[in-house]
Amino acid sequence: MQDNVIEVNHLSKKFGENTILKDINGTVKSGQVICVIGPSGAGKSTFLRCLNLLEKPTSGEVKFDGTDLTHVDGKQLLDLRERMGMVFQSFNLFPNMTVLRNLMLAPIRVKQMSEAEAKKTAIHLLARVGLQDKADAYPSSLSGGQQQRVAIARALAMNPEVMLFDEPTSALDPEMVGEVLEVMKELAKEGMTMVVVTHEMGFAKSVANQVWFMADGYILEKSTPDEMFENPQNDRAKDFIGKIIEAK
């Protein structure tokens, strides 16, 4: 594998007349954890979605493992996409199937894994996120924190090389945030390459290699967590971090 797992060059994205992402550059190395912060509407979700091409960039390139994703489609895109897992703010579990089936669907349909093997992997992953007893439950019967842990396990079931997280804890009741961050920290420690949009400073400080600050479609500052939270250079970043510390 290349050392630079993800490489973004001059990425821009327009929705109609509105330019949402403007000349974004950055690299994510194997095993790194990058946290992305910034005010609402900055373009963080759009950026993340451009990384696995849920959103098609208007210009620039997004290289994954050396291949420019902006120029592939069809089967090749699906192949590359399955190597990146994604976890959403609103969990997005499939409500029409059990937890176990949520985890087994993609391995069977995409990776052509056998039913038995997929089940084995799924049960193993559920144990890893502490939910082995919920295998036969439907998502609607789980708490938010449990649902998000299942969602993480579902993404992991595809054995991805990179995990993308879009505000995974911001839809959760405060008492459930911890259990989800715990699972994510474990992942980071095991060496998973991760790009995480989050405002959880504790998490960022303990596992992130870099924090990127976004506003108005630009990445305005990239620093280590300590620098970013203790001594941000950019004025907008200073202002924003002042506000989140105040809110705590």
């Binding site: 696995n52 699906l78 192949d79 399955e82 897992g85 994604m86 997005n92 019967s141 993404a155």
Partner: protein, 488 residues
Amino acid sequence: MEKKVKAIIQVIIMFVTLLTVGAIASQASAADNSLQKVKQRGELIMVTSPDYPPYEFQVNKGGKSRIVGMDIDVAKKVAKDLGVKLVIKSMNFDSLLVAIQTGKADMAIGGINPTNERRQSVDFSDIYYSGGQSFLINAKDVNKFKSVKNLRGAKIGAQTGTLQYGLAKKRIPGATVKGMDKSTDLVLALKTNKIDALGIEKPSAEAYVKNDPTLKMIPSGYHLNKNDVGAAIAFKKGSNSLVNAVNKSIVQIKKQHLTDKYLASAGKYMKVNTVNTSMFHYWTYFAKGVEYTILISLVATFFGVLIGVILALMRFSKQKLFRGLAISYTEFIRGTPLMVQVMFVYFGIGVVINIPALISGMIAVSLNSGAYVAEIIRGGINSVEKGQTEAAESLGLTKGDMMRYVILPQAFKNIWPALGNEFISLIKESSIVSIIGVTDLIYQLNIVRADTYRGVMPIFVAMVLYFLMTFLLTRLLNYYEGKMKHAG
């Protein structure tokens, strides 16, 4: 752009429709091999509407039903003289002439008067029977309407498009003429005082009077040329060879006064029918009707959903052509009545490939239902949260797998009640297939009404049966809806 594609496709649909109609029209001018065709086939196919005793009606003997009557005996004689087997198809009276024009049958028989209007579209044999005209009135009015003269300014009923209708209009001064499709409906209108008198052929009037003491008949007093009015057999235009052959039999029928014999035997059959006019006696008719109604609804539901899913998926396709096709199809189907679609599939497409009535009915109702189901499913797909698509895509699922495993199951759960409504309305709306002779509940209802001379009771029975079907289906759907809710 979408609009342009749509417009183009709609023009194409119109074009194809016109071509088909053109093909039907041009058939008429083909060379005459009508007699040869019948002889080669060894079968003479006739079409009739068996709800007009004593001309043609169904007889219910030992649980088995058979089409009998004077016209049937005439047709049997014709077939025997030609040396071929007689095949009887039944259909609504309105559809008889279309059926021979489109080649569904070689001839139509059913007390048809060869009016000038009809002569424009079909050929006729010589008149084989001229029963004369009369009026049915209520027995309580015998003193009021002693003769035709008293009918001036009265409300007179007649079958739409028949000789009786035209005569009443022209010859009874000041009369209001009310047209209906079925003689059974007209008799009911008379008995419930919606009309004062009913213009009808004498043999039919006699049959009614014999079977219903509340009815009386008076002579029409029309002076008509026996060679102009009466019943004749209809053929597709340009069937001279067949018409000539049939006319030879008719000459014999007239010479030997065979129709008197035929009428007598029809009278015997009618007695069999009216010995027991309780609805229980006719339960096999209703049971068969219910069976066909359920069969058609089930098949149409299955294929309707299949077509609906395909159309809905086409609406979400990246291809403009697919989207345009799906939109045009839906608009076209929703913009035309089901009755016209049923007739188009049977008679229109039937010119190219001969599809039996039952299958035609199923096809038409399925195609129709598909358009409505497509709209319901489209709504269902739109109602599934966007996050579901994103999650499926991020896992690398193909679009097809995403639809199959994630989106459609959720969509169906959301639209279950709407789909249920569609199935229930199918049971009711499929009744339109009776016009092409599919023996569904409505068709059987008309047969029972014609056979028993009881106007209202069969309607009531059919109503109860329809209600039972929809009621049970509603319960069943509710049960499954509850079960689905349970499953998360």
